[in-house]
Symmetry: C2
Subunit: 335 residues, 2 copies
């Protein structure tokens, strides 16, 4: 059969090395893929393209509809637009899925039994980018919450829970304060939950939910929430598994999908062959499942788990007494 | 000397019992206070006063300018306004101070050395309450960030740090997305930080900051942030000290101040004599410092610490091997 075309981008900082490691792993898995590489990030911004992506790169994305993306660095200062947000909007990637699992006892964590999937709305909220300075002293930003947007992401969460044999979906909202906007999300959540009697549901005020997540994450299963809360709580959840470097994520739309690590481009450790490629490797596993190559996905996931369990660790999760060998980015991939 | 007049409210749920415990402690400390009690919360909402406070109660607050408040329950459903937000706005309580300290080994926690103070902006942001439904399907909420509001809270944080011999102030913002609004807060932070060369400063993107706070809170000292981020991260910080029941907070304005526990009214355990009164007791310690009765404050704080260290614990923090006696709300106060 024909290989599935995939658009890839190496990104900035540790991006190129973790992408190389991931491509090596994909190759070894027997996945049937044809890569198209595009340029994104710093080098593109520096040529004055304010959203960080070559106009021609969109053609590749529209053709392949699947994007495996390494982290990029957005330059400091005014005028630059977040490429992540641009891509999510342009390709209609409304669902951001972030599984956060701990690998106790192989990876040191204070939360040995956590296994949470965060389903984050990915287009609306304060990310719509509507902001203005009314006077020199007064600024406003507009938070947008719509019924279609809320329905889509909440339905996605329940379908995801059902397909992945998950027991419960929890919504995080702040509708004691935002009665109209978060209130709408909450109402839609209750409506859609009623269509899935096989799955438990509950909702929590986001501050209380976030506190419980940080303290006893094992009480959660699937969490569905607004864009900005999802941004904050998914970083928390990923971090407390033991390393933010272990989490992959998918951004799903009706037509297209993008797969990436949760962590950033970590410029300070770039080029040192010490970065943990796990986030991008696990993102590529999610990608293989998405395009129907479940066998290769399972092969990579199992091999990766075996490495972690064998204690072959990159330096970020290396721990005396648990880890057995400390390896670089390259060796990790080769194992 | 004349006793200092203080307005108190017993609130709902566990409110009355923890207030009684706190008043007993205040009495025993020799603090020189004269209490005026007002009615707030459920019973007032039920009489159709939509913000939960008797109009006449404002007179007491305007007179005493100091408010010791137990938690209340806001009824579910449309039309009700959060009393907390109303009071903060009406009295101009722009700074919400939440010290989150762990009491290892006396109180079980995964974060034995944390000692973080969160200074939360308390009037602006999405709490301004500007929300509208544009169509049946589209809602918006407006986030307001101003220069005067940002200056006030940031200066408060640095002054607090200096007065309390704290080393560092960290700002949490999301100005990679909200470049105008959070960008303004960040810029003001850098400006004011420059006036305090004796205090370190740094800023973090809120998702990364929250993740670090949940994982390694000992890296933080004073954190200053916008209202909604502050709401979320202060609940996280309080919870991971071991119990959200231990944290008191103050809401400070130019004229008035309000002191309260961080936790809510916990209706399910109300009236059982098991609630932990520590949050409100520590809030009353902050109150005594505020009105210049530092001696009584220290006395209560030391007695409270001794109880915790002696293992005389309410059930929420009771733990075999650490705690020695499990006591009720009333006995805790009497000790
Ligand atoms: C880089 C940034 C724009 C992005 C976000 O806020 O969504 C990141 O934090 C993420 O979570 O993917
Ligand atoms: C009860 C609620 C309105 C309040 C808030 O959101 O500020 C509470 O969570 C708090 O932190 O004091």
């Amino acid at each position: 059969t024909e290989p599935t075309p995939i658009t890839i981008a190496r990104g900035d900082g540790i991006g190129p090395e973790i992408m190389d490691a991931t491509l090596e792993v994909l190759q070894a898995s027997g996945a049937n893929l044809a890569f198209e590489e595009i340029q994104i990030g710093e080098s593109v911004y520096k040529r004055g393209i304010m959203n960080g992506m070559e106009p021609s790169a969109w053609d590749s994305l529209r053709r392949t509809k699947v994007f495996l993306k390494a982290p990029i660095t957005t330059p400091q200062g005014g005028g630059y637009k977040s490429l992540n947000v641009t891509i999510r909007g342009a390709l209609g990637l409304y669902a951001n899925i972030r599984p956060c699992v701990s690998y106790h006892p192989y990876v040191s964590t204070k939360h040995p039994t956590m296994d949470v999937v965060i389903v984050r709305e990915n287009e609306e909220d304060l990310y719509a980018g509507i902001e203005y300075r009314q006077t020199q002293e007064v600024t406003q930003a507009v938070k947008l919450i719509t019924r279609p947007g809320s329905e889509k992401i909440i339905r996605y969460a329940f379908e995801y829970a059902r397909a992945n044999h998950r027991r419960k979906v929890t919504a995080f909202v702040k509708d004691n304060i935002m009665k109209i906007s978060d209130g709408l999300f909450h109402r839609v959540f209750d409506e859609i939950a009623a269509e899935y009697p096989d799955i438990e549901h509950e909702s929590m005020i986001v501050d209380i939910g976030a506190a419980r997540l940080a303290d006893t994450p094992e009480q959660f299963d699937v969490i569905v929430t607004l864009n900005l809360y999802g941004d904050i709580i998914s970083d928390i959840a990923a971090q407390i598994t033991g390393s933010v470097g272990l989490a992959g994520s998918s951004n799903i739309g009706d037509q297209c999908a993008m797969f990436e690590a949760i962590h950033g481009s970590a410029p300070t450790i770039a080029g040192k062959n010490i970065a943990n490629p796990s986030g991008l490797i696990l993102a590529s596993v999610m990608m293989l499942v998405h395009i129907g190559q479940a066998e290769a996905a399972e092969k990579i996931h199992n091999a990766w788990l075996r490495m972690i369990e064998d204690g072959i660790h990159t330096v970020d999760i290396f721990k005396r007494g648990v880890s057995k060998a400390r390896v670089g980015t390259r060796d990790f991939a080769q194992n």
